[in-house]
Symmetry: C2
Subunit: 209 residues, 2 copies
DNA sequence: GCATAAATTATACGCTTGCATAATTGCCAA
DNA sequence: TTGGCAATTATGCAAGCGTATAATTTATGC
C-alpha cells in the first residue's frame, strides 16, 4: 500500500513559472528533444499530469518558455541601460562591452538561442518574437550611435546611421556567438577590447575604456 | 497477395549519399525532431530497414550528415576563392560580398547551421568540426586582410591583424544570420553594400565595388 | 470542524520511435 | 542459365512519447 505522494498547493503563477524554468533548463542541457513532458515535470518537482493542468499542450508550454526567455533577456538589457553612464560616448562603450562579456556571453543562453533560432523559419509566433527583439536591440544601438556621433561633433555618414546600426549589431551578434561557443579561444578581456576598437573604427570615433 | 516492392541495387556510396542528403533535407525542413528514421527512408526512396544496413545507429547517420554539410560548405567557399580576382583589394571585396549574399545567405543553410550549433556545446565531435571550420574561415579572412592592407601601403594596426579578423568574421557571421533569418528587412544589395562599407571603415581602406 | 472546489497525483491508452531480425529479391560470376 | 551472396524489403518489438481521465489530497469558506 504505497502512500500517494504528498504535495503542496502553489499559486498558479508560481507553478507556471517553475514549469517554464524547468523547460528552459531541459532545453539548455539536452536540446529540445530532451525537453519531454516527463523530464520537465521531474525537474519541476511535480508529476507529469500537472503540466496539462496549466498548459493545454506541450507546444503551448514551449511557446511560453520561449517568450519568457526573450522577455527576460530584453528586460536584463534594458535594466543595464539605466546603469550606464550618461555621457553618450561612455554610454555606447559600456553598452558594447556589456554585449560581449559575461553574463550576456554565456553558453547556456547561446544554446537556448540556437534552439529558438531553429524554430523561427517555420513558426510564425517565434518569428514575430525574433523580429521584435532584433529590431528593438538594433534601434537602441542606432540611437546610441547617433548620440555618440553628435556628442563628438561628427556627421553621420552618407546613408545615415541605419547601415552603421545594422553592421554594429551584426558585429556584436557574431562576437557574442563565438565568445559563447569557443570561450577558451579568447583572452580575458580580448572580446571587449576587440569590440570597442572595431566600433571606434566603424564610427571613426574614440571611445573611452 | 501484394507484391513486394521492387527495387534497384545502388552502390554503397550512392546509397549513403542519398541517405545523408535525405537527412539534411528533413532537418532543414522540420528540425532535428523531424528527422526520424522512417521520414528519412521515405525521402530517400527506400524502406527504413536499409538505414541500419549502412549506418549502425541513427546517431551515426546524423554525425555523417553533419560532417558532409560542413565539408560541403568549406569546399564551396574554397572553390569560390579561385574565382576571385587576383588583386588583393578586389579579392577581399569579392570575398565579403560572397559571404553576405545568396546562395551563401540562405534560410535552409541557416536552419541546418542552427541545428548543429545546438549540438556543439555537448557533442565533442561537433565541437571539433565547428572549431576547425571557424578557424579556417577566420584565418583565410585574416590573410586576405593582411594582403589588402599591404597592397594599399597601410600598416596593420597595433595588435596585428588578429583582432581585425575576429571582428570581421563576427561582422560577416552576424550579417549572414540576419540576412538569412529576416531577408525581407533588407533591400536587394543592401547587405553587400553595408558589409563592404563596414570593412572599409574597419580597415581604413577603399574597396572596389 | 466540515463540505466543497481546485490542485495534484496516478494510471492508462494509442502512437511513434529506434532497432532487430526474418524473408525476399536483384545482380554478378561461373 | 543458374547458384549464391549481398542489398533490400517486410514485419515485429520494446520503450518512450504526448495526452486523456479518474482518483485523491490539500486548502479554503462557512
Amino acid at each position: 500500500m504505497n502512500a500517494r505522494r504528498p504535495y503542496r498547493r502553489e499559486g498558479e503563477e508560481a507553478r507556471r513559472a517553475a514549469l517554464i524554468q524547468a523547460t528552459l533548463d531541459c532545453i539548455a542541457e539536452g536540446g529540445p528533444q530532451a525537453a519531454t513532458v516527463r523530464a520537465i515535470a521531474l525537474r519541476a518537482g511535480v508529476t507529469q499530469g500537472l503540466i496539462r493542468h496549466y498548459f493545454a499542450t506541450k507546444e503551448e508550454l514551449i511557446a511560453a518558455a520561449h517568450e519568457s526567455l526573450m522577455s527576460r533577456l530584453t528586460e536584463a538589457s534594458a535594466a543595464r541601460l539605466d546603469e550606464l553612464p550618461a555621457d553618450p560616448l561612455a554610454r555606447l562603450s559600456g553598452f558594447i562591452a556589456n554585449a560581449v562579456t559575461p553574463p550576456v556571453v554565456d553558453p547556456r543562453s547561446m544554446a537556448l538561442w540556437a534552439a529558438s533560432m531553429q524554430l523561427v523559419p517555420r513558426d510564425p509566433a517565434m518569428r514575430a518574437v525574433h523580429e521584435g527583439t532584433y529590431l528593438a536591440f538594433r534601434d537602441r544601438l542606432e540611437a546610441m550611435i547617433a548620440e555618440a556621433l553628435q556628442a563628438a561633433g561628427r556627421q553621420p555618414p552618407p546613408g545615415g546611421t541605419r547601415a552603421l546600426a545594422i553592421a554594429g549589431n551584426a558585429l556584436l551578434d557574431g562576437l557574442w556567438i563565438e565568445g559563447s561557443l569557443l570561450p577558451e579561444h579568447f583572452a580575458k578581456n580580448e572580446m571587449k577590447s576587440i569590440a570597442i576598437k572595431a566600433f571606434e573604427r566603424l564610427l571613426d570615433l574614440e571611445l573611452p575604456e
